[in-house]
Symmetry: C2
């Protein structure tokens, strides 16, 4: 199976609360695991502040570099929620209030007996040419424009949106991996492992040391599309035990 | 107090295990909080794989953009630990085995009755012109070259290295912040809050919704060097209650 089947992506986490360390980012890890399971590699994660130019530049840089870009955060009702307008700017399209999104919000807030004021209505703005991504939790949608997916930052909403888009990104091949645990310190097997790795430059072979009481060991993780190739490398790696 | 006192930084987290979602990055949050406490803003975090060109390009891009750059990961003994050689390449300097670092490793492994083989000796390589950063846990040092700090990826070692460098980065002014909790939904105060924020474009005013049983509320976080300015904005913000 060729490396050509590998699809690439970048994740942009937007928000001062993440960058300041106030809030731990959990979304990029969740998404990376889901993407990997359907054969999309995350090539880069960027955590950036709520600053217009930085958002626009990051979106433009990564959408030209990778097959897919996913953003998280900055699509709520307040003044620091500027992701939608930045993505619209990046694609040089308008950002009108979308009729369907407005109707969704109207119905939702009506049942909740909450006023759909102008701040909340901001969440109904969708760039021209974009497709809405449903939000089963608090209704205000994300959207997809070309290869860029704009998702909420709140983890449970983010995850629900990811599950909504992931099925359309599925591909018939996915990445498999196997882990071999060796009860030797990383430094004791590094030379031989390097030799194995150099024979298979296109296969990801990771080495992760662990300490378990008195036992120092190393987990070797071999990942690739081709299970036969994984088995072949695993056979060599088992000999390091 | 002027915004000129604000110092900028970027963090580069290096490692396939983070990017694949296998391991949760905790280092960038730890460092961001420590830096903020001494008045250094994190302007950007990048999580990137163990790929030579990507490491070199990220280091070069961020070291020219920000006052400080901090890297985490990729300085162990195995074939996928390539951070030191990439940083040396970024600065176009050699990466010899450092005599002092070698001595540290020799002594450490002698007491542990472990062989200092060629893989482990890789950890004694320090770029020409760099200064070692002590590692009180497993000895193998990090290093600082110009405005770039190269730190370990294992969280307890990373944190120990951070504590070793942070005192030299201290500055007499630091960023203060105050949090005002308002028991109203974000959408209900967004308009008024936007008006306050527009009056103080240089002050970070963050809005973070929360749900606590039946209560929907919003935390407003105001951050700046100038405590008088924070108090002034807090007074306006209290009126949203």
């Amino acid at each position: 199976m060729s490396e050509l089947l590998l699809r690439t992506s970048g994740i942009i986490i937007i928000g001062n609360e993440i960058l300041s360390g106030r809030t731990q980012d959990l979304n990029s890890r969740y998404l990376a695991q889901r993407l990997l399971s359907i054969g999309i590699i995350v090539n880069e994660v960027r955590i950036i502040p709520d600053i217009k130019d930085q958002i626009i530049n990051s979106v433009n840089e990564l959408r030209n570099k990778y097959n897919f870009v996913f953003t998280s955060g900055g699509i709520g009702p307040t003044h620091d929620d500027i992701t939608a307008e930045c993505v619209a700017s990046a694609f040089d399209v308008d950002l009108p209030v979308n009729k369907d999104a407005k109707k969704l919000l109207e119905n939702y807030y009506l049942t909740k007996q909450i006023k759909l004021n102008s701040s909340r209505l901001r969440m109904a703005r969708i760039p021209v040419g974009a497709v809405m991504i449903p939000n089963p939790i608090s209704v205000a949608p994300g959207f997809k424009i070309k290869n860029v997916f704009v998702l909420a930052g709140v983890p449970n909403i983010f995850q629900a949106m990811v599950e909504n888009i992931i099925k359309n990104l599925e591909f018939k091949f996915s990445i498999k991996s196997t882990t071999i645990t060796i009860n030797k310190a990383e430094g004791d097997i590094a030379e031989k492992l390097s030799k194995i790795a150099s024979l298979y430059p296109n296969v990801s072979i990771g080495s992760y040391p662990f300490e378990n009481g008195l036992i120092k060991g190393t987990n070797i993780v071999i990942s690739h599309y081709d299970e036969k190739l994984i088995k072949e490398i695993a056979k060599f790696t088992e000999k390091l035990k």
